[in-house]
């Protein structure tokens, strides 16, 4: 599963990436995480608030650090 974490390197974006990685590991779901830092790409994906998370190219969340439960729900739904 391809997951993108969008954000220009602020601390909240780092936390988001770590949480996505940990949650995927815990649920034993193989994921490929890409960090999107380029403003141009972030804007092109229609995101106005970082950190944001996209799964298989579709933005599922933006504006704050997600909770582990939320991440689990996205991963479960996309599997």
């Amino acid at each position: 599963m391809k997951i993108q974490v969008l954000g220009s390197g602020c601390s909240k974006c780092e936390i988001t990436e770590r949480m996505v990685r940990e949650t995927a590991q815990r649920l034993a779901i193989p994921v490929e995480i890409e960090k999107v830092k380029d403003m141009q790409r972030i804007a092109a994906m229609g995101v106005m608030r970082t950190p944001a998370v996209a799964i298989e190219g579709k933005v599922v969340h933006s504006g704050r650090v997600p909770t582990a439960d939320e991440i689990g729900a996205w991963l479960g739904a996309a599997r």
Partner: protein, 344 residues
């Protein structure tokens, strides 16, 4: 505004009501607390050091309490707004009224300066005019809950409201002027080349308890981040209170020194501090004879314009537009300073 109250929310509401009552009781006993600390301490209020200590033990808890209250309230209010929703509102309208609306929405829409660029792009590609976007971008960082809580705590509600009104006025006027300069071609070309997006916002149905939770989360995040700044600011302020002689600032930052307003803005623009650190210091300066207009101008330029923010915005704005942005906002702030010094 519809409130989705579900049974589980009643518990949350009861908790909040209890917290508000507790808050009121603690706030009402701040003076007694400070006096008790002073009696228990070896310091005497008539000495310089004792005066500084008293200032700190009274002001620090007061400001922290107000901050918690204001940040919580704003956290709940902001859960009703999102940049997507604000964008949809602003894209529908035009004219001066939309500048007013944009500045107002700048206060209540969740905003972090780290997302200024994606937000700027999101607004423009959805058809929000450049000038209206700027009204939002000036008001959002300048009129923030930390500044308002500190002003309310240290200067009283009149000055807090005044700051809010003036901040909004500068944001509205700057947006109108920048809109009339027709500087659309000074937005970076790659931004202009982006496909237009529809400004749609899906309505969210969130239970009220979740909104209260958002308020608590805001308190944890914001107060958790700014408290060292505030304590440091109040400590410096306390030092100024205790040691700097009365009227010391009158010559430097007083009404009669005409050059003090532009000097305050010139010093303030490149300075980077958040409201939390600067306001307690500013309060102390005011108490030592600095003029209110000069002090407000200094504070606004520190908070509204900063070098790091300009560097971030440079990604989407060409140098001429950045210069125009700084120039217009700084002029507005300058005007605020002079008007205040003249009127009061």
């Amino acid at each position: 505004m519809d409130m989705h109250i579900v049974p589980r929310d009643h518990r949350a509401l009861t908790l909040v009501a209890a917290a508000v009552v507790a808050w009121g009781v603690v706030y009402a006993s701040l003076g007694a607390f400070a006096d008790a600390v002073m009696r228990a301490s070896p310091f005497d209020r008539t000495t310089h050091f004792g005066d500084a200590v008293h200032f700190f033990v009274y002001e620090a808890p007061k400001v922290m309490l107000l901050l918690v209250l204001v940040v919580f309230t704003m956290g709940v209010v902001r859960s009703y707004f999102s940049p997507e929703r604000t964008r949809a509102i602003l894209a529908r309208r035009g004219g001066v009224l939309s500048n007013v609306l944009a500045a107002g929405l700048g206060i209540v829409t969740p905003f972090c300066s780290c997302s200024a660029v994606p937000l700027f792009i999101g607004f423009l590609t959805a058809g929000v005019p450049l000038g209206v976007t700027f009204s939002f971008l000036v008001s959002a960082p300048m009129v923030n809950e930390i500044a308002l809580a500190l002003l309310f705590g240290l200067f009283g509600w009149k000055i807090a409201l005044l700051y809010m009104g003036l901040g909004l006025s500068v944001a509205i006027a700057a947006g109108i002027v920048l809109g009339h300069l027709h500087m659309e071609r000074h937005v970076e070309d790659w931004v202009t080349a982006l496909p237009k997006t529809a400004a749609a916002a899906t309505p969210d149905e969130v239970p009220f308890g979740a909104r209260l939770a958002a308020g608590w989360q805001a308190v944890g995040e914001i107060v958790g981040k700014v408290w060292p700044w505030i304590l440091a600011g109040i400590a410096v302020g306390a030092g100024i209170h205790g040691y700097v002689p009365e009227d010391f600032m009158a010559g430097l930052m007083g009404k009669d020194a005409w050059w003090s307003v532009p000097a305050a803005v010139l010093i303030g623009v490149p300075m980077y501090s958040n409201a939390a650190g600067i306001i307690p210091v500013v309060e102390a300066l005011l108490a030592k004879g600095a003029a209110l207009g000069t002090v407000l101008a200094f504070m606004m330029s520190v908070i509204a314009l900063s070098l790091p923010e300009m560097i971030i915005l440079r990604k989407v704005l060409k140098p001429r537009l950045i210069a125009a942005f700084i120039g217009v906002v700084a002029s507005g702030i300058l005007l605020v300073g002079y008007v205040f010094n003249a009127v009061l």
